[in-house]
């Protein structure tokens, strides 16, 4: 088997684990853990594709942007968690609908 095919097969498995976590859990922290795992799988796919096409420089440049976005998303998600916990005393994602205007 091609080494890239094996890599992407394992990436698909990692992505499945992240999606399962996001689907199965109601805790905001675990939702973010699942999001992080999916994001890591996407990063691996990106850098692997960059290595395959001999475009690692562009892949790295996009990946640095992606890491910046990831930090902003996680920081905002955790800020929502803290706010939700202060308001309701729970980290349940179903309580987030009380934040709607």
């Amino acid at each position: 088997m091609n080494v890239f095919a094996l890599d992407w097969y394992l990436i698909a498995l990692i992505m499945f684990i992240g999606f399962y976590c996001m689907l199965a859990s109601r805790s905001i922290v675990r939702q973010l853990v699942g999001l992080e795992i999916v994001s890591k799988a996407a990063m691996l796919a990106l850098i692997s594709a960059g290595a395959l096409t001999n475009n690692l420089v562009y892949a790295q440049a996009i990946l640095i942007t992606m890491i910046v976005i990831e930090v902003v998303v996680v920081a905002t998600g955790l800020a929502l968690l803290v706010k939700n916990f202060r308001l309701h005393g729970a980290a349940d994602i179903w309580n987030l609908d009380s934040l709607k205007g």
Binding site: L13, I17, Y20, C21, S27, R30, V33, V57, I67
Partner: protein, 161 residues
């Protein structure tokens, strides 16, 4: 190749552990280990800049953020833990996915790899970041500013009446 594949397998194992862990703190630490193995994979691919960013930002900063948030809700989580039955099914679900995907995905991915058009290498990372994507850097700075303002708007300063 064995080292390379071993790193991918380790990433999958740590990801599984992060999801399955009963304590949120263990989950956050396993997530940091996922980040470390991912950064090692980046180094192995020959992408040191991405590896350094991943190691410093994802394994460092995001783990600190996670541990800070987890320490806030840890007491509540230990008193009223989440229903774990769905997580216990994850190894089985992952095994079923792995076996089912083994028959379809590798063949598809091999075909996908055959479509790749090899580039010219693209020069240096400095050229890609500072010359070709100069307007994009402004976008990144604005994105970080948007995140800061988002947090500021979630936690407004309380005004005394």
């Amino acid at each position: 190749m064995i080292y390379h594949t071993l790193l991918f397998v380790l990433t999958a194992v740590f990801a599984l552990w992060a999801v399955m862990a009963r304590k949120l703190l263990t989950s956050a630490i396993m997530l940091a280990l996922v980040s470390i193995t991912v950064s090692l994979i980046f180094f192995d691919f020959g992408a040191p800049w991405a590896g350094v960013f991943e190691l410093s930002v994802c394994a460092g900063l995001i783990t600190v953020l996670f541990i800070g948030a987890v320490s806030l809700i840890r007491d509540h989580d230990e008193k009223r833990p989440e229903n774990r039955s769905r997580f216990h099914a994850l190894p089985l679900a992952a095994a079923i996915f792995a076996i089912a995907a083994w028959f379809y995905l590798p063949a598809f991915f091999e075909e996908l790899a055959g479509w790749a058009r090899v580039g010219n290498g693209g020069g240096t990372i400095g050229l890609a970041l500072w010359e070709m994507r100069r307007p994009d850097l402004l976008g990144q700075v604005l994105m970080l500013a948007a995140g800061v303002f988002m947090i500021k708007s979630i936690f407004p300063r309380r005004t005394q009446k």
